[in-house]
């Protein structure tokens, strides 16, 4: 149904795609896998008409096609659901879905009744329970994702491209999405499904194509391939251990939290965290995990309860105070609260450490600072020619390493990681896991929030679970398994 042959696309400085081919059959789900920067998103943007290829041919149903833009792609039956959500927050769900295609009354005004009926019909068909009249800004991220999917389906396109659609969805919502995908597949549509998650691939996809460094590697049927083979194809090397958790001596209590509350968000969270210990924090999206991290670090200070660092009770009312107490916080959202996208790597790495070191009489000691950053860059293996590169040009995994480096330069005693490996590729993921493990080995107390069950189970000494703003339990490593944690997270 969709064929791609010999595509090449170069950007200033990099060849994003080189002689790539890809074939999508009607009525199948075709997974696209590869590390970040492998070229998956670029390829999909070419198919969706956002980029024009330098060379090569795109054929739809056997006929060659030169797309002039995203609109042109839609008219040719290709719809894409983007990783970043592209909805207008101050318009209603229905208006968002039918934008540019609104039903009109006789006088040329928008027919709101018809708009509502159409949306409801679409939602009924997909079994989505969202009010068409609700404004998008009032919806959760997951609901917005569902609206995006419904919008893409509403075009009745033959080809649907989904770029990591589940990254913001909970387990139940993922199941729901998969039901929708199966329904579309049964209608003979071709679905391209970009994902990093292995279990999703085995659950939903019929075929997989793997890319690495802008090159096409291979295509396999999902029934004829194993997990290890795919990982091997993606990274081009064996990953002997996905979660290299080292057993390290556990030291004295570093952090002690008692009955911590943020009014209306979460309440009564208590835990102790020791030197060298990794405490996993699991829970569904909206359970208050990230809010707990923000309260600990003083971004949104706690309204009651106590935090003690090494036995001394402290009041943490700002991130600056938290840093003085030896805390560090790698946030969940790299773009919103992490990176200074317009600045270079150096400027991204040095922000936190400048509050305490490498400054004399207000002047930055450039040389010492650069040496430290340079050493950190090398140790974390950030793939970049120099510290002067703008961080926007790095892949997600490398950006994440820079952000972790920002905090490691402050030599923290207590490190909070919120989704440290979200949206980054398998290779970088393993490196970050190894790094976290090693930090624990050096006596750092780590609190790690993660939505990925294997990561939580593989990395943590203990797992704390939250549900709707309450702490529902702490499970030891030896007693922790997927079932037990899911029970606590959804009780």
């Amino acid at each position: 149904m969709l064929e791609i042959e010999g595509i090449r696309k170069a950007f200033p400085g990099v060849v994003a795609l080189d002689n790539v081919r890809f074939r999508l059959h009607a009525g199948t789900v075709h997974a696209l896998m590869g590390e970040n920067g492998a070229g998956k998103s670029t390829l999909m943007k070419i198919i969706a008409g956002i980029y024009t290829p330098d060379q090569g041919e795109v054929r739809v149903k056997g006929r060659p096609l030169v797309l002039k833009g995203p609109l042109d792609a839609l008219n040719n039956g290709i719809a894409m659901i983007h990783q970043e959500l592209n909805l207008m927050p101050y318009m209603t769900v229905a208006e968002n879905i039918w934008i540019r295609r609104e039903p009109k009354t006789r006088f040329g005004f928008i027919d709101h009744g018809e708009l509502r009926r159409r949306t409801q019909a679409l939602f009924d068909r997909l079994v989505i329970d969202i009010d068409p009249e609700a404004e998008v800004r009032d919806l959760s991220i997951a609901s917005r994702q569902m609206v995006e999917i419904a919008k893409a389906v509403s075009f009745n396109s033959d080809v649907l491209i989904m770029d990591e659609p589940t990254s913001a969805l909970t387990e139940t919502e993922v199941k729901h999405l998969f039901r929708i995908i199966r329904q579309l597949r049964a209608q003979g549509k071709g679905i391209v499904y970009i994902t990093h998650k292995m279990n999703e691939f085995f659950e939903i996809a019929d075929e997989v194509s793997v890319f690495r460094d802008g090159k096409y590697i291979d295509t396999k049927k999902s029934t004829e391939v194993t997990r290890d083979e795919i990982i091997h194809m993606i990274v081009g090397r064996e990953l002997t251990q996905m979660f290299p958790k080292e057993t390290v001596p556990i030291g004295a209590v570093v952090v002690s939290v008692k009955n911590l509350c943020v009014e209306g968000i979460f309440r009564d969270v208590s835990f102790d965290l020791r030197a060298g210990e990794i405490l996993g924090l699991a829970g569904l999206v909206g359970s208050g995990r990230s809010n707990l991290a923000e309260a600990l670090f003083g971004v949104v200070p706690a309204t009651s309860g106590t935090i003690s660092i090494e036995g001394v009770e402290v009041t943490i009312d700002s991130p600056a105070r938290a840093m003085k107490c030896g805390m560090a916080f790698v946030t969940e959202d790299r773009k919103q609260t992490g990176c200074f996208l317009a600045l270079d790597i150096m400027a991204n790495m040095d922000t936190a450490v400048l509050s305490t070191r490498h400054v004399r009489f207000g002047f930055v000691q450039g040389k010492a600072l650069r040496n430290d950053c340079e050493e950190m860059r090398r140790k974390l293996r950030v793939k970049t020619p120099s510290l002067d590169e703008v961080i926007q040009n790095l892949s997600g995994g490398n950006q994440q390493k820079v952000l972790i480096g920002r905090w490691l330069l402050t030599k923290p005693k207590f490190l909070i990681l919120d989704e440290p490996t979200r949206g980054i590729d398998v290779g970088a993921k393993a490196e970050i896991h190894r790094l976290v493990s090693r930090l624990a080995g050096q006596g750092v107390a780590v609190l790690m929030i993660s939505s990925e069950m294997p990561e939580v189970l593989g990395m943590s000494d203990r797992v704390m679970v939250m549900h709707e703003g309450r702490m529902t339990g702490i499970v030891d490593r030896k007693d922790a398994d997927q079932v037990r944690i899911m029970e606590l997270a959804s009780q």
Binding site: A342, A347, E375, M376
Partner: protein, 341 residues
């Protein structure tokens, strides 16, 4: 914990050093050269004399632009934090009238403060600078504490400061100033003040923590907060500095004109912002340099002088200025779009 124990990978990584990059000011400098050559060429045709190779003209260009330049240095800081300061022109008026009122000679019967005449120039200068600083602080506090957009906050102080200047003078010029005070506006002194201030803030932005944090706040305010930067306090400082610089500009203006008038400095803020933007500072924040702003100021100066030189109306001048501001922002957008790919 030492960094050296952190190594996570087995493979050492090597990279070839990248191509040597040109300083970002180069392209703006080429624009300056281009604009100058343009007037040079037309100058020979129309006037039969050189435009650039005329020491007097160059002096006048720099002298005329130094007041705008002083304001533009502050505007550079503000715009790097992705803010804007519309009040500068009105601050010039307010500080000009206040400083002039304390610099009047004693044999002038209608002095604003008849008992405070023939003062040493230190006092009017201090008063002018203080008024600028206070208005800047008001801007900063409004923006940081009430979280209203800088555009609105400084629009408010812009109107209010102009009103203050009119009330203070009763719409009459404050004249008959002492020679000592007038000295700071004479000869090359304003140029020296401009160059010294530009140099100071070039160093502040590039080599101090204050400068680094300024870029960080402009590039991503939320990330700056999480990185432990006291963003509110920093923004108050930035707007206070911008107000202070406008205060210096206003005092210099009064000294140059040997009078203080409520109508001074009209549209100066826009010229300053234009110079900053032409100089390559991004209105979306996080990017910009004082050196670029200095070149931007010179471009505006050359254009003003050049249009007069080739005997075109001032109206053409304004239209051309408008066009070049828009072109600068378009160029900025284009650069950033290219980087995103």
């Amino acid at each position: 914990m030492s960094i050296s124990k952190l190594s996570v990978g087995a493979k050492p990584m090597t990279f070839k050093p990248g191509k040597r990059k040109w300083p970002p000011e180069l392209s703006i400098f080429l624009v300056l050269v281009g604009v100058s050559l343009f007037f040079e060429a037309i100058g020979w045709y129309v006037n039969d004399q050189s435009f650039i190779f005329n020491a007097d003209r160059l002096q006048i260009i720099i002298l005329q632009m130094s007041v705008i330049g002083i304001i533009a240095v502050g505007a550079t800081l503000v715009i790097i934090t992705s803010g804007i300061d519309l009040s500068s022109g009105s601050v010039v008026a307010a500080t000009a009238v206040v400083s002039a009122s304390l610099a009047q000679v004693s044999d002038f019967p209608r002095a604003v403060f008849p008992h405070l005449t023939d003062l040493a120039p230190f006092w009017p200068i201090l008063a002018g600078v203080t008024v600028g600083l206070v208005i800047g602080l008001i801007n900063g506090v409004l923006i940081a504490v009430t979280a209203i957009p800088p555009f609105i906050a400084t629009l408010g102080t812009m109107v209010a400061a102009r009103g203050f200047a009119k009330w203070f003078t009763g719409a009459m010029p404050v004249s008959m100033l002492t020679d000592d005070f007038a000295w700071i506006g004479s000869g090359g002194i304003p140029v020296v003040i401009f160059i010294v201030l530009a140099a100071i803030f070039q160093v502040v932005l590039r080599y101090t923590r204050f400068g680094k944090f300024t870029y960080a706040i402009g590039a991503n305010r939320q990330a700056a907060v999480v990185s432990g930067i006291n963003v509110n306090r920093h923004l108050i400082c930035i707007y206070a500095v911008a107000g202070l610089l406008s205060g210096i500009a206003g005092t210099v203006t009064a000294a140059r004109a040997v009078s203080g008038q409520a109508g001074m400095g009209v549209m100066y803020e826009l010229d300053a912002i234009a110079a900053v933007v032409i100089g390559g500072t991004s209105l979306s924040g996080g990017i910009g340099r004082v050196t670029g702003t200095v070149i931007g100021v010179l471009i505006l100066g050359v254009m003003t002088s050049g249009f007069t030189f080739i005997r075109l109306d001032a109206y053409y001048q304004e239209m051309a200025k408008g066009a070049i501001i828009v072109a600068a922002v378009v160029a900025d957008q284009y650069r950033r779009r290219k980087r995103r790919c």
